[in-house]
C-alpha cells in the first residue's frame, strides 16, 4: 500500500497522493502570489507552500482536490512541512476519491451510533429520552460526520460524535463513582451539548462558521431546537425537568466569557462542563505530542492558553503517544 504523510521522517524525500484540505492564496513580499496548502490523508495533515503560483495553478489546486505531490519533509519553526518539488492533479487510477484522504475518528460511524444508542437507552426520564431521540434524529447524519470544532480539537470527520462518546464514557465512570449524580440528565446533556455545531459549522470538509453560527452560536441554536422539539412532542418546555435539560446544555461552556449565557447551577451542568474540557484537552495534547519528537516541546497550543507542552523521552512507564 502507498505510503502516507506520517510514514515519512523529517529529511525524507516524499511522494504522496493527498487531499487539499485548505489552499489559501497569499501575496509574497516580491508581489507574486503563492498558495499556502494544508494537505491531509488518513494519517494526519501537513502544510506546504507553492511559490509563484500562476492564475491557472490557483484555479486548479483548490480545497477538495486530490493531488500528487513530490518534495521533502522538513521542520519549519518546530512543525513538519513539505518543501514542494512538484504538484499535479491525481488521475482516476491514482485514487482520485477525496473521501479516502480525510482524517476521521478512530471508530466507525456505525459503531459510534450503536454505542450512543446504548447510552440513550439508559436515560430513564421519559421527556429527556424523547427530546434526545427527536433532536438527535433531526441531525443524525451531520452528527456522525461533522468535526467537533473547526481546528482546536477533534477536528476530523466524525469528531463530533467521537468527542460526545468520549464524554459519555467519562460520564459513565463518574456516575458510577458518585451516587449523587443524575445519570439520565448527564447523559442527555452530554449527547445534546455540542449538537448545535451541526448548524454552526458548514460541514465536515473545509469547515467554516456559518453566518447563523457567528450571529447566534451553537449553544443557543441547540437550545432553540430543544424548545421546538418539545412543542412538537407536546412536552411543556417550562416543566422543571425541561428547564434542567436546557440549563445543562446552555451552561456547558462554564463561564459567561466563554459564551454560556448562564453559569452552571446544577451538579450535572458543572460535571458536563468539566468532562467536556477534560476530553478536549486530552485530545489536543495527544495530537500535539504526535507532531513532535520525544524530549522536545510542542508548538504553542491556542486551545491551551498558548502553552507549550513537553513530550518526555520514551521509557519510564510512559506510553508512546503515537
Amino acid at each position: 500500500m502507498a505510503k502516507q504523510i506520517f510514514d515519512y521522517q523529517n529529511g525524507d524525500e516524499v511522494k504522496l497522493t493527498v487531499l487539499v484540505k485548505t489552499a489559501e492564496v497569499r501575496q509574497a513580499k516580491n508581489g507574486n502570489k503563492f498558495i499556502a496548502f494544508t494537505f491531509q490523508d488518513a494519517s494526519g495533515h501537513i502544510s506546504a507552500k507553492f511559490w509563484d503560483a500562476s492564475e491557472a495553478d490557483i484555479a486548479q489546486y483548490k480545497a477538495g482536490e486530490v493531488v500528487q505531490v513530490s518534495g521533502k519533509r522538513e521542520l519549519y519553526q518546530g512543525n513538519p512541512q513539505i518543501k514542494l518539488y512538484s504538484v499535479r492533479l491525481a488521475t482516476q487510477e491514482e485514487g482520485n476519491d477525496p473521501s479516502k484522504y480525510v482524517e476521521h475518528a478512530p471508530e466507525t460511524a456505525d459503531d459510534m451510533g450503536e454505542e450512543l444508542n446504548d447510552f440513550i437507552f439508559q436515560i430513564t426520564n421519559a421527556n429527556w429520552n424523547r427530546i434526545v431521540r427527536k433532536v438527535l434524529g433531526d441531525h443524525k447524519q451531520a452528527f456522525l460526520t461533522y468535526p467537533a470544532a473547526k481546528s482546536n480539537h477533534h477536528a476530523f470527520t466524525g469528531g463530533l460524535a467521537f468527542h460526545t462518546l468520549s464524554i459519555l464514557r467519562l460520564a459513565k465512570s463518574v456516575a458510577a463513582q458518585y451516587s449523587s449524580v443524575n445519570k439520565s440528565l448527564l447523559y442527555a446533556g452530554a449527547i445534546l451539548h455540542d449538537l448545535g455545531k451541526t448548524i454552526e459549522l458548514s460541514g465536515p470538509v473545509s469547515t467554516e462558521y456559518t453566518m447563523e453560527g457567528n450571529l447566534i452560536g451553537h449553544i443557543v441554536l441547540i437550545d432553540e431546537a430543544i424548545v421546538v422539539a418539545a412543542q412538537e412532542l407536546k412536552i411543556d418546555p417550562a416543566s422543571e425537568d425541561m428547564i434542567m435539560l436546557r440549563h445543562v446544555v446552555l451552561a456547558h461552556h462554564g463561564l459567561l466569557e466563554y459564551g454560556s449565557p448562564v453559569r452552571p447551577q446544577l451538579l450535572e451542568a458543572q460535571i458536563l462542563h468539566d468532562l467536556d474540557e477534560l476530553d478536549a484537552e486530552i485530545n489536543m495534547l495527544t495530537t500535539a505530542y504526535q507532531r513532535v519528537e520525544p524530549g522536545t516541546f510542542t508548538e504553542r497550543l491556542f486551545g491551551m492558553d498558548n502553552r507549550r507542552f513537553y513530550r518526555p523521552e520514551k521509557g519510564q512507564g510512559y506510553p508512546d503517544p503515537k
Copy 2:
C-alpha cells in the same frame, strides 16, 4: 389629601398609610427577631425597622399589606428611614387597596400601549412586524405592568414598558440622525429585547427571580419565544432577517460577561445595547439624585459600578432633579 412619604422632611414626625413592599424577618444580636420593612406609596419607598417582633407581628405585617404607621423620618447612613413608633393594619375606610400605594411609571398603560403601536406600525419588514405583534401579544398584560428589573432601574409598575418606550424614543432620534441605520430592525429589537423579563421575574409586586429566570435567563427565554412564534407563523427562523432579529435581541447586553451569548455584530445590535445602557443609567441617576440633598453625594450605586454621584447645588441652569 393625605400626605405621602416624600412630603415629609428628615426630622419630621410622620403619619402615613403605606404598602408593605418587603418585610424581611431577621435576628437581632440579642436573639430577638425584628422586621426590616420597606414601605412604599406612589411617591417612592423608604425603609424602617420593627424591633422585637412577635410571631403574631410577623404573621400580620407581610409584603402586600397596607399599614398605618407613625414614627419619625431620619437619616441612616445617608439614606432616609422611618424610626417607627407604631404600626397597625389599615382599615377599609383608611384605604386598604394595595394598588393605590405602588410606584408606577409616569405614564399610563393605555398611553404607553398606544405609543408602542405607533412604533410597531413603522416596522416595515413583514416578518419582523408579525413576530413582534405575535410575541408581544402573548405577553402584553405582563409587559405593561412588570418592572424592568428587580431593583436596579425602572423598578416600578409599568417600568418594563416605560423603559422600552424610552429606548424607542432615543432610537427614533438616532435613526433620524444616521441614515445608515435600519429603523425597522432597531425598533423590533428594542420592543423585544427585555420582554423575557416577564418570564424571568415573578411579577410586578414583591418581584423575585423565577427558577426559570435563574437557570435560563431572560435573554434566551425571549429568543426561544421568537423561534416558537416563527414556527407558528410559518416564518423560516433561519432566514437572514430572522437571524438578524434574534441576534439583535441575544446581543443586547453587549458583553459575554454580562450574559449575552454573542457580542453585537450588527450596527443595530450595537446601538440597541448603547441605548439600553443610556436609558437605564439616566433612570438610576435621576432616582438616586432625588433621594439626596443638593450639594451632597448619592449612596454607592450598585448598577453604576458602585460609584457615588454628586448632586450639584441648585442654580447654574441646572434643572431640579425632583
Copy 3:
C-alpha cells in the same frame, strides 16, 4: 441510639450531645459578649449563638469540648441553626469522647490505606514508586486523618485520604480510556499532590493554617519533601522522571493565580489538575445540596465562585442527594 443533628427537622425541639467544633467569642452591639458556636457530630455540623456569655462560660465551652445542648432547630438566612435553650458540659456517662462526634470520611482509614497500596503497586517507574512510598510513609498517620481543606471541601477527618483516593479512582478510568496517559505518573502525582497539607494545616480538629503553611504553602512544602527524599534515597532529583514528578505536583493548581508556580506542561499535570477540581466540586455540591430542601437554591458557595446551585425536586430519575 441517641438522635444526631441531622435527624431533626427545622422547627423541632432538639436535645443533643455534640462536639464544640469552633467557639468564637464576639461582642454584641449591646456591649455584651456572645459565643458563636459550631457544633458537630458524625451527621454534620450546625451553628448556634450563645448570648450574654460570662467569662466563666467562655472559659468552659471551648473548641474540643463535648457538650449537652437543648434548643430548637430553625432556619437562619437559608441555613439551619440551633436556637439555644441551654448548654452544659457532657458527663463521662453521656459519652464525653470527642472522637465520637467528628465528621469523618465515609470509609475507614484501614480500607483507604489498603486501596491506596493497590494504586502504589501499579506505579511501575521505580523512582516514582520509591519516592511515593518514602514521602507518604513520612506523613502516613496525618495523611489518613487530616481533612483536605480547612473548610471548602472534604473538611472532615480522613478527608485528605478520601479526596486523594477519589481522584485515583477517576484517574484509573481516565487511564483506561485514553492510551496516551502515563498511569504511573498520574497515580504518583495524585498521591503526593496535596500531601503538603499535612504541614500546611494544624491537624484534623479545629483546623487552622500553620505559619509555615501561610508563608510557604502546601505545594512547595511537598515539593521540598520530594527533593529531600530523593537525596536520602540517592535518586538524582534532576533526572527527567524526577523533574516530571515534581512538575506534576507543582502545577496541580492549574493557574499561577491559584498558587502553582508553573502551569501544567505535561499531559498528566493537566489531567491531575482537572480531576482534582472535578472531585472537589462534586464534594462541595453534594454537601451543599444536603443542607437545603428540594426545589430551593443552596447558599452561595465560596469555592464555586459564589454561585448558588439549584437542588431539583425529587423524581425524574434524580437520585436523592442525601
Copy 4:
C-alpha cells in the same frame, strides 16, 4: 470628471490621480526595500505596495505628494488594494493640489461653525459660556480642520468638528427627552471634550501624536486650557460650576483604564461619555460596512474590540450603508 478610487470595482484596471497619505519604507524578505502606500482622494483611501523601490523612488514618493498611478484593484485579505503597474508625480495640469484629494467631513467648515454657534448660544450659565467661547476661540481654526482621531473614527479633515456636532445633536435629543439633564453643562462639555486633540495631534494631514500628546494626553491638555482661560477671564476655577465643567471633560473616557483620571460622577458626565462612544461606534461601523460587500463580514475593527461585523444583504427595509 475624473474617476475616483471607489468608482472602481475589484478586478478593474485603474488610472487615478491621488494623494499619498502614508508612505512607509519597509524591507522585503529578499533584502530589497518597498514602499507601503496609502493613497487617498475624496472618496476614501486604499493601500498599495511599490516593490523594489530605489532610493530615488523613496525620496520622491512621500506623504503629501500627488501622484498619477495605474494598476488593478484587487482584494487582499478581505480589503481592497491596488496592484501597481506604474507611479509618477502628477503635473500641475493634472491637478497637483493636495487639498483636493483629502477625505473630509460631509459638511463644510462654515456650516459646522454656524451650527456650533447655535449650540453655544444655548449655554445659559455665563461662566461656561465665556469659557467655551474663549477656549474654542483659541483653537478655532484647528478645531474645524483636524480629524477626531489618528485612524479609529472620524479620521478625516473636519472630523473633530463633525464628531463634536454629531454628539451635540444627540445631546439635544437626550436633553429634550429627560428633564433632569442640565443642557448647558452637557453642551459645554461636548464642545470642549476633544478639543485637546488639536494639541495632541500634529494636524489634519499625515496625523501623528505630538510629544506633548504622548506625555500629557488630550484630556489633561484641554483641562489645563480651561483653567488658564478661567484665570484670564477672572473666573474662579474652584467655583462649583467650574469644577463641574472640568469634571465633565476629564471624565469623558468613562473608565480609568481608558485614560480618564476620574470616572463620571455627574449625570451629564455619564451621558457625554455614552454619546461620545455611540457616535464614534456608528461612524466606525458605517465606514467599515462601506468597504465590504453585502452578505459578508467586515475586517476586524480595532476600535470595536477586534470584532467583525456582518453587513446584511440588501432589502428588508435595510438602508444601503454606502
Copy 5:
C-alpha cells in the same frame, strides 16, 4: 508624665486624656444609638464604642474634643480597643488642647522644611527650580501639616511632608547609584507629586475628601497649578522640560487604573512611581507591625491588597519594629 494609649497592654485598666479623632453615630440592632469613637494621642489611635448614647452625649463628644476616659484595653478581632467605663470632657487643667494629642511626623515642620530646601537647591534646571519654589510656596503651610492620605499611609500631621522627604532621601541614593538618572527632574517631581493633596483633602484633622478632590483628583489639581504657575512666571508650559515635569507628576500612580491619565514614559517618572510605592508600603507595614504582637499576623491591610503580614518573633537580628 501621664500615660499614653500605647503605654498600656491588653487587659490593663486604662485612664487616659485623649483627643476624639472620629465619632460616628450608628444605630444598634436594639434601635438605640451608639458612638463609634477613635481616640488618639501622640502614641497612636485606638477605637472604642459608647453604647446607648443620648442626644446630649452625641452633641457633646464630637471629633476635635479632648476627653477623659476610663476603661479596659482589650483585643477585638485582632485589634486593640478600649472597653469604656466612663467618658467626660477634659477640663482646662487636664490639658484641653487638641494639638497636644494628635499623631505627628517623627520630625518637626522646621527640620523638614530645612531639609527640603537643601533638595530644592540641587534642582539645577532653572524652570523646574522656579516652578517648585512657586507652587510649593503657594501651599507651604498645608504641605507641612497635612497627612499624606486619609487613612492608608502617613495618615498623621505632617505626613505629607514626611512622605515627600522620605522619597527624596531614597531618590538621592538612587541618583547616586545610577548615573543615567536626571536628579533635578526626580527631585522636582518628588516634591510636587502629592502636593495636590492639599486641595484634595480637607485638612490635617478629621480628614475628608473635598468635592474638588472627588471630582478632579490630586493628580490633575497639581498639574493645573504647575501650568498656572508657569504662566505667572512667564515660562512656556509647552517647552520640553515643562512637559517632562508635568509628565512625571501626572504619571506617578504608575497605572491608568490607579488614576494616572498617562503611564510613565520617562525613566524618572518610572522611578518616582516605584519610590512612592516603596515608601508608602514600608510605612504601612511598620505601622501595622506595631499594632500586633511578635509571632502573629497583622490585620488585613487594605493598601496592600488585603494581605496580612507576619510579625516574626524577636531575635535573629530582627530589629524591634516598635
Copy 6:
C-alpha cells in the same frame, strides 16, 4: 584598536570582527533560506540578515563563532541593523576568541565577588549566613558569569551578579533609612533570590531555558537548594528564621501571576520585590535609551508592558544616558 559595533553611526560603512550571538535559520517568502543573525561585541549587539543562505553557510555561521563582517549600518523600524555585504569566519590572527566579544557587566567578577563578601559578612543571623555561603558556594562560578535573564534585563555575562549587587546597594540605603528593616534577612534574600537562574538557564552564551527551568522554574529550584543545604548543615528548615528566608525568596516576584507561589507576607519580602523591579527597570530603560537618538521614543519594551519611553533632548541637567 579595532572599531566596535557602537563606534559606528547609522549610514556608516562598517567592518567588524564580532561574535555570532544567535543565528536563526528561517525561510524567506521566495522559498530560500536566510540567517537572522545577532552579532555582538563588548559594545552591545546588533541584528543582520544573511539572504539566500546555502547549507554550507548555515553549517558554518553558527552561534558561538567569531566572524569578520562588512556592510552598512542602517535603521530598520527604529532599531539599528547591519545590511550585510560579506561574512566570513575570523582567522586566529584576527582574534578568534569568543570571550573577547561578549557583552559583560561593567565590573569584574573579582570586584563583584569581593563586594558580595562584604555584604555576606553583615548577615548576622548564623543560619542565614551559613546557608548563603553554602548555596552560593555551590553555584559560585555560574553566579559570576550568568546573565540575569535571557533577554529582558542584565542580559550579559556577569549580569546575574551585577543585578544582585545593585539590589544589595539599594538594600543598604533602604536599611539605613528605615530602622524597622531586618538587614540580615534582606541581604540574604537578595543574594539568593535569582540564584536559581543558574539552573533555569543554559549558560552565559546563547542562553536558553533548560527543561528543568521550564518545568520547575528558578524560584522553586533555589528554594529546594536551600532546603537541601539546610539538611546538609543540620539546620532545621522548619525553624522560624529558615521559613522566613525561604519565604523572602519564594515571594520575590510579588504576584502569583508572575510565578511566586506566595505573595510577600514579610516587610523584607515586599522590599526585596520592589528593589528587584526597580533595578531591572532602570537597567532596561537605560539600555533602551542608549539605542535611540535624543528627542525620540524607544521601541516598545516587552518588560515594561510594551510601553515606549521618551529620550529627552540633551541639556536641562539631564545626564547623557550613553
